[in-house]
Amino acid sequence: MSLLEWRDNFRIGIAEVDHEHQALIDLINALHASLCADRSAERIEAFLGEIFARISAHFALEEKDMQVRGYPELAAHKADHERLLDDLRDIMDGVNDRGVLDDGAFAQRLAAWFSDHFSSHDVRLHRFLTT
C-alpha cells in the first residue's frame, strides 16, 4: 500500500505543477517502499539526495509560476517550502552523521508535510487561481 495517494482535490490548476506533485508523490512512495526493503545508510542517503534535488527544482518552478501570476501570498507559501527543505537537510545530515535513520517514520513525516501543505497553502493558491 502506498504512503500517499494522489487525490483530485490536490490539484491546484497549473498543469505542470500538478504533474510534478504527482511525480513527487510517486518518488516519496518509492522511497517508503525501498526503505521497507533496505535500510542501509547509503541507500537512504542516495534517496534523500534525490528527493532534495527534485523538491528544490519543483519549488523553484512553483515559485516562478506563483510569481508570474502575481500570487500575493507567495512569501508565506515560499516560507513553508523553505521549512521543508531545511527539515529535509536536517534529516540528511542526521543520516550522514549517525549512519542510520533515528526515526523510521521520516517518510511519514514527509508525507505529512505534503498533506498539510496541499490542504493549506496549495488550497489557497488554487482558490486564487480559480477566482
Binding site: E16, H19, G49, E50, A53, L61, E82, R89, N96
Partner: protein
C-alpha cells in the same frame, strides 16, 4: 596583438591598484568607466540644452551670444558652457579608457563581440559631436576647424562643390553651412543615444549608473574645473586672416595637425582602416571557442532561474519540446553563450547531494560538468588536515591562486565563481570536507562575466534564489574580491579567515570576530584615502583643463600668409552645340523638340599658377558629373612669406593644344597672417584677385 594586450593589462592592473587604495574597490573609477560615460553624456546634454537656449545659430551672431553667456551670465551660463566642454572632454577620456580596458581584459572576444562592434560607430559619433561643437563657437578655433574639416571632407571628392568654399574669405562666408552644423550637433547626440542603447542590448542588468558617490565626485571635479578655468572663446573668427596660433582641444582635434602633413584621403583611409581593424578584433586569432552551455531536458522543469541569471541574454525560455508536462524549457543560444557557467550555479538540480541518479543538472557546461565539480571538491579537500581547513573556490580570471594550496588549503577553479551552486557550500561544510569556504573571484564590481560576483553575493546573503540555506553558518563562508594584482590581499584574507575559523573551533574561547560573510578587505586610513582621491580627481581636472586648449598649434608660420585659389568653372563643350534644322525638328517627337542639340561632355580645365615666376601649380581638373559635362572645380592653397609677390595664373578650358583661354596676373603686398583669395569667374572678367592691395590686372587673352 597578444603582447600589446598583456602589456596594457599590466598597466591597468597597476593603475587600478592605485585607485583601489584611494577609492576602495567598489568605487574604483576603472570598473565604472562605461557608466561614467553615460553620466557624462547626460551632463553634456543638460548643459548643452541650457547653452542652446541662449545660443544664436547665425554665423555672425553666434560669437556674441556665447560671449554674453561667458561674461554677463558667468555664474550659470558660463558655468554650463564650461561644463559642456569639460564633460565632453572627460567623455573622451573615459571612452578611450573603457575601450582600452575591455580590450586589455579580453572582454570582447568571440561571442562577446556585440557591445564592442556597436561601440565603434559611437566613437565616430562622439568625434562628430565634438568637432561640430567647436565649429559653432565661431572663434578662431572654429574658423580653423571649419576650414580644416571642410577641406578634409572635400578630399573625399563626393561633394560637387568644395564645402571649403563656404569659408573662403569673409566675402564668400555663407551662414547656411554653419546653421547645418548646429543641427548636426543636435542630431548626432541623438544617434549616440540610440547606439548606446543598442550597445548594451545583450547585457542583462546592464550597469548604466555609476555609484552615487563616484558620480557626484566626478561632477564636482568638473564643476570645480569649470569655475577655476572657465571655457571661453578665442578671438572672433575673421576669414580674411589666418590665425597663426590656435589653442586646440587635443581630446577632439589631436588628428587635425596631421592634415597639414598628410593628405586628407590618407587620413580618411587610415581612420576607416583603423575602425575596420577595431571591428574585426573580436574574431582575430587566437580565438578559442568554448563549448556553450547545454540543457538536459530530463532535469529541466522550466523554472527559469538560469534565464534570470544569464548575464549575456543567451538563455530564453521556449515552449516545451520533449512532450513532458511542463510549459517551458531553457534554450541556449550558442552564438551568445560565453560559457561562464553562471546558469549552472542557478540550477536547482545542480546539487551535489544527489546520489541515486547520475549528477546531471538541467543545464551545465560540457567542459566543466557538475559531476566533475563535485569530484574536484572531494579531491581538493581529501588530504587537508587541521582544524581550519579551507576550500578556496576561484575563477579563471582571478590570477593563479593554485599557489595558495597548503596542507590545510585546497583550491578549485571554474570559469566563474557564479557557476558554484550554493548547495555546494552546504555540501562542503556539512559533509565536513572543509571547515570553511573562501570564494576568491575577480576584483569587486568587476566580474569578468559581469554578474557572477553579484549573484554569488546575493545567493549567499539569501537575497536571490537559489540561496545558501540559512542553516549554513555564514561564519564559515567568506569572499575575497580582488584583481590578480591584489593576490597579496587574497592571501591576507585567507590568513584572516583561517584565524577566524580556528577561533570558532576552540571551544574555550568565545568568538569575538564578526561573521566572515562580507568581502574580506583592508583599507588605507581615511585621511590618506581622501588625499589620494583628491590627488586623482585633481589630476583628471588638470589633464582635462590643460589639453582642452593647450599646447597651442601653430597652423601657419608667424611671417607667412596663405594664398587660396578656388573656383568652379564649366569648360567649353567638347563639341559646339548645333541648331536643329526645321526638318529635323519636325522629325523629333513632340516632347523632345528643342532649339539645338548639344552633345554632353566638356574639356577639362588646365590651370597654371606661377609665384614670382616660379611654378607652384600645374594641374588638369576634370569636369564633374557622370557624363563629364559638369563644371571643373579647383581648390588649392599654399603658404607664402609675407611681402610683395607676383602671381601669374593661366587657364585653358578648351581643346586647344597650346596657349591659354584666360590669363591673369597681379602683384600684391601680403601681410603676415593674411588670407589672400584668387577667384575666377568665366563670364565676369576671368581671374579676380581678392582685396587688391597693389596693382592687379585680369585679362582675357585668346593667345599668348
Amino acid at each position: 596583438m597578444n603582447s600589446i594586450k598583456k602589456a596594457l593589462h599590466a598597466v591597468f592592473l597597476r593603475l587600478e591598484q592605485l585607485c583601489n587604495l584611494a577609492f576602495g574597490a567598489a568605487l574604483n573609477p576603472f570598473v565604472h568607466l562605461g557608466a561614467l560615460g553615460w553620466l557624462l553624456f547626460w551632463t553634456v546634454c543638460v548643459s548643452g540644452i541650457y547653452v542652446y537656449i541662449f545660443f544664436d545659430t547665425g554665423v555672425t551672431q553666434a560669437y556674441a551670444s556665447l560671449e554674453y553667456l561667458s561674461r554677463e551670465q558667468w555664474y550659470l551660463g558660463g558655468l554650463m558652457r564650461s561644463l559642456h566642454r569639460y564633460a565632453s572632454d572627460a567623455m573622451v577620456v573615459v571612452v578611450v579608457l573603457h575601450l582600452l580596458r575591455e580590450f586589455a581584459l579580453d572582454r570582447m572576444r568571440g561571442n562577446r563581440w556585440f557591445p564592442w562592434v556597436t561601440g565603434v560607430p559611437l566613437l565616430w559619433f562622439l568625434y562628430a559631436c565634438g568637432i561640430t561643437g567647436y565649429w559653432l563657437v565661431w572663434d578662431q578655433l572654429a574658423q580653423y576647424v571649419a576650414i580644416a574639416t571642410s577641406e578634409w571632407l572635400d578630399s573625399i571628392g563626393i561633394f560637387g562643390q568644395p564645402i571649403a568654399r563656404n569659408f573662403l574669405d569673409s566675402a564668400h562666408l555663407s551662414g547656411r553651412f554653419f546653421t547645418l552644423m548646429a543641427y548636426i550637433h543636435i542630431a548626432v547626440p541623438l544617434m549616440m543615444l540610440l547606439f548606446m542603447w543598442v550597445h548594451i542590448q545583450r547585457h542583462a542588468h546592464a550597469r548604466v549608473n555609476p555609484p552615487r558617490a563616484l558620480g557626484l565626485a566626478t561632477l564636482a571635479t568638473l564643476v570645480a574645473l569649470a569655475l577655476v578655468v572657465p571655457a571661453i572663446s578665442q578671438a572672433p573668427a575673421d576669414l580674411d586672416r589666418v590665425p597663426a596660433e590656435i589653442g586646440l582641444d587635443w581630446f577632439y582635434l589631436a588628428l587635425y595637425p596631421l592634415l597639414d602633413v598628410v593628405s586628407g584621403k590618407t587620413l580618411w583611409l587610415s581612420l576607416v582602416g583603423a575602425s575596420l581593424l577595431l571591428t574585426a578584433l573580436p574574431w582575430l586569432p587566437p580565438l578559442r571557442k568554448p563549448q556553450p552551455a547545454q540543457v538536459h531536458l530530463d532535469n529541466c522543469n522550466g523554472c527559469a532561474r538560469c534565464f534570470a541569471d544569464c548575464p549575456f541574454g543567451a538563455i530564453t525560455m521556449g515552449a516545451r519540446s520533449d512532450g513532458a508536462a511542463f510549459e517551458q524549457e531553457a534554450l541556449v543560444d550558442p552564438a551568445q553563450c560565453v560559457s561562464c557557467g553562471i546558469c549552472v550555479g542557478a540550477c536547482p538540480t545542480a546539487t551535489p547531494f544527489r546520489r541515486a541518479s547520475a549528477l546531471v543538472p538541467g543545464i551545465e557546461l560540457p567542459a566543466h560538468t557538475i559531476a566533475d565539480l563535485r569530484a574536484q571538491v572531494v579531491a581538493a579537500t581529501e588530504q587537508l588536515q587541521g582544524d581550519a581547513r579551507v576550500l578556496v573556490v576561484t575563477c579563471a580570471h582571478a590570477g593563479d591562486l593554485g599557489t595558495l594550496a597548503e596542507s590545510d588549503v585546497g583550491v578549485i577553479a571554474m570559469p566563474c565563481v557564479g557557476m558554484l551552486p550554493p548547495s555546494f557550500i552546504d555540501f562542503t561544510l556539512s559533509r565536513r570536507h572543509a571547515d570553511g569556504v573562501l570564494i576568491a573571484g575577480c576584483a569587486a564590481k568587476d566580474c569578468f562575466d559581469r554578474l557572477g560576483q553579484r549573484w554569488t553575493d546575493e545567493r549567499i546573503a539569501n537575497q536571490r534564489d537559489p540561496h545558501l540555506r540559512d542553516r549554513v553558518s555564514r561564519d564559515r563562508v567568506a569572499a575575497s574580491w580582488a584583481s590578480p594584482a591584489q593576490w597579496r590581499q587574497t592571501r591576507e584574507s585567507l590568513g584572516q579567515f583561517r584565524r577566524h575559523l580556528r577561533a570558532l573551533s576552540s571551544a574555550d574561547r568565545p568568538v569575538t570576530v564578526g561573521p566572515a560573510w562580507q568581502a574580506l578587505r583592508w583599507r588605507l586610513p581615511a585621511p590618506l584615502r581622501i588625499a589620494g582621491q583628491l590627488l586623482m580627481l585633481g589630476s583628471l581636472a588638470l589633464l582635462i583643463g590643460w589639453f582642452a586648449s593647450r599646447p597651442s598649434y601653430a597652423h601657419l608660420g608667424r611671417e607667412d600668409a596663405l594664398v587660396k585659389l578656388s573656383f568652379s568653372h564649366a569648360a567649353q563643350p567638347l563639341k559646339p552645340c548645333r541648331r536643329f534644322s526645321p526638318e529635323e525638328l519636325a522629325r523629333l517627337p513632340f516632347d523632345q523638340r528643342r532649339a539645338s542639340n548639344c552633345e554632353r561632355g566638356r574639356w577639362p580645365v588646365y590651370l597654371e599658377i606661377d609665384l614670382d615666376g616660379r611654378p607652384v601649380h600645374r594641374a588638369t581638373h576634370p569636369p564633374a558629373g557622370l557624363w563629364n559635362d559638369g563644371p571643373s572645380t579647383v581648390y588649392t592653397r599654399f603658404r607664402v612669406s609675407a611681402g610683395r609677390h607676383r602671381f601669374d595664373v593661366r587657364l585653358r578650358d578648351s581643346g586647344r593644344a597650346t596657349g591659354f583661354d584666360y590669363t591673369g596676373s597681379a602683384t600684391v603686398s601680403l601681410v603676415p597672417g593674411q588670407n589672400f583669395v584668387i577667384d575666377f569667374r568665366g563670364t565676369e572678367g576671368g581671374f579676380q584677385f581678392g582685396q587688391p592691395l597693389s596693382s592687379g590686372s585680369a585679362t582675357r587673352g585668346t593667345d599668348r
